[in-house]
Symmetry: C2
Subunit: 313 residues, 2 copies
């Protein structure tokens, strides 16, 4: 029997799966729709997961077997959210692919694993949502943010997008000086002016992903020197810094060599990443920024392999 | 036939109806659930409206007849929102109560009518949502805000409540100094700490009204001298002022005697109203604040009567 390891990165937009061999070679990859249960229901999520795993195993030899699978799932913060996802996913993987060994973890865990082996490590994720998670060599862990759009998500694509909408309307109704965002939002929704934008926004209400897509509009305006866009992005940087500061302080990592893994579409933009790193290093000089060169599903597959090796010891 | 006039104030939480006689005496009042179609569906809204009107007409003499009804409806900003509400409401009122003459207007219109007869008048509403609407003696009108939670609603109960949640979490995860809001939010949701608050917030997601209710928590913390609460409320005051400034400038009312009608649960709090008035009067000395002493349904009934008299001329 040829052993295989499966890494799964489940999100609110898409699910990515990587199958690795014992020697670390890619056997296959899979891509499907959302498996985050705040974005979709259990049935649809199981279906997406099944399809992505099927793709990843398509070219595997018939006498191979997945000995361990790790899934990192976004938006899974409480015990009940864990249970809601674990049961159906574990069952489906067992039935469809004979996978007995399934581990479900918060998506920040695989992002951290993907970027660092250092016992002192912090990961800042800013994509649709935002979160910071860290660990130290005492075995402690801490997190900040990561509780979705009503409670947190400062410095995320969603929050940038929501600010874009609100500053565009302020420009339209005279509550602030004109900003380019007004015209760019009209273009984005293909409308003439903001008079009737309510239909586009609320019928049905924009999803979190659709709001987060407006971060692109903000970047476009920023690169064209729009001051409202610059304010929004600088504010987002400050909020990302607060996320990291809180975790660094709680783990006592102020002066210890620590990896800072940066993950997610927003923080990976150079004009967001560089000022955030500079401002954090000015405070915490032992912080080493890491931008993973592979997607998080590699971290998940790596973790699947490591957990198997550790279990054998 | 004894003529009656009906005033209806329809909102996202409740619907209030007032029946007035020709001489301005109250014939009856009615109270029921929401009729705002962003909070409920057309069937439930029609049912609520019917029940509130039935209550208001219960004690009317058998030989009386409603000659005109005016309904102010919150959240009705576009032509399609108007049509979606007008058709079923007009039909129900005709079938159930033989009311032929039904006028549907934005809720700010009845709030303005309730507070001012001045041709130069501005109304600032801050309740669950926020909006400013004004008119001038040239026949122009203008508005700012009033496009619901994703696009506007700065300075509203919803926005204050959302800030309360976010500052409470920041206090919990170490992104800001401790604020009393953390403990008060726990009390509000009857939980021990904020670790597992996600269940209360997202399953199902809090409604706009439920978020706005957290403004009470903010006021409680403010009155106990909490600095986070003070920041949130001062920010809300600044945003209310921006709403009014935009309308005053667009209508050229900077130096003209103008009524400023203040309506809604948030701006009616003395510690919110007084600083907003003081800061606006420092800029626009001809502004006269008006706090209506009767609910907006009086403005609606008054308007119903005025429209009938004007039609007879």
């Amino acid at each position: 029997m040829i052993p295989l390891y499966l890494g799964i990165d489940g999100g609110g937009t898409k699910t990515e799966v990587l199958c690795l061999s014992e020697t670390g070679e890619t056997v296959g990859t899979g891509l499907s729709g959302p498996t985050n249960l705040t974005s979709t229901n259990t049935g649809a999520a199981s279906f997406s997961l099944k399809e992505a795993v099927r793709q990843a195993l398509e070219k595997a030899s018939p006498d191979s077997q997945v000995v361990s699978a790790v899934m990192g799932l976004a938006g899974m913060d409480t015990q009940s959210e864990y249970e809601m996802a674990f049961q159906p996913f574990a069952e489906m993987l067992k039935t469809a692919f004979k996978i007995e060994n399934f581990h479900l973890v918060h998506d920040s865990v695989i992002a951290l694993e993907n970027g660092s082996n250092n016992p002192n490590a912090v990961v800042l994720i800013s994509g649709t949502g935002s979160i910071c998670v860290g660990r130290n060599d005492q075995g402690d862990s801490a997190r900040s943010g990561g509780m979705d759009y009503l409670l947190t998500d400062q410095g995320s694509g969603y929050d940038i997008g929501r600010h874009v909408l609100r500053e565009a309307i302020k420009s339209f109704d005279g509550r602030r000086p004109k900003t380019m965002l007004e015209q760019l939002v009209c273009q984005h929704f293909e409308i003439e002016n903001l008079e009737n934008i309510k239909m586009q926004i609320y019928h049905p209400p924009l999803s979190k992903v659709e709001v987060a897509e407006l971060a692109k509009v903000c970047c476009e305006a920023y690169l064209a020197n729009d001051s409202a866009a610059r304010q929004i992005l600088e504010w987002a940087q400050t909020e990302m810094i607060k996320l990291v500061e809180a975790v660094v302080h709680r783990l006592g990592l102020e002066h210890k060599p620590t990896d800072l893994v940066l993950s997610g579409s927003i923080i990976q933009l150079e004009f967001m990443r560089l000022p955030v790193i500079a401002r954090l290093q000015a405070q915490f000089s032992a912080l080493t920024p890491v931008v993973p060169d592979r997607p998080s599903m590699y971290g998940a597959a790596q973790l699947a392999k490591r957990l198997t090796l550790e279990a054998k010891r």
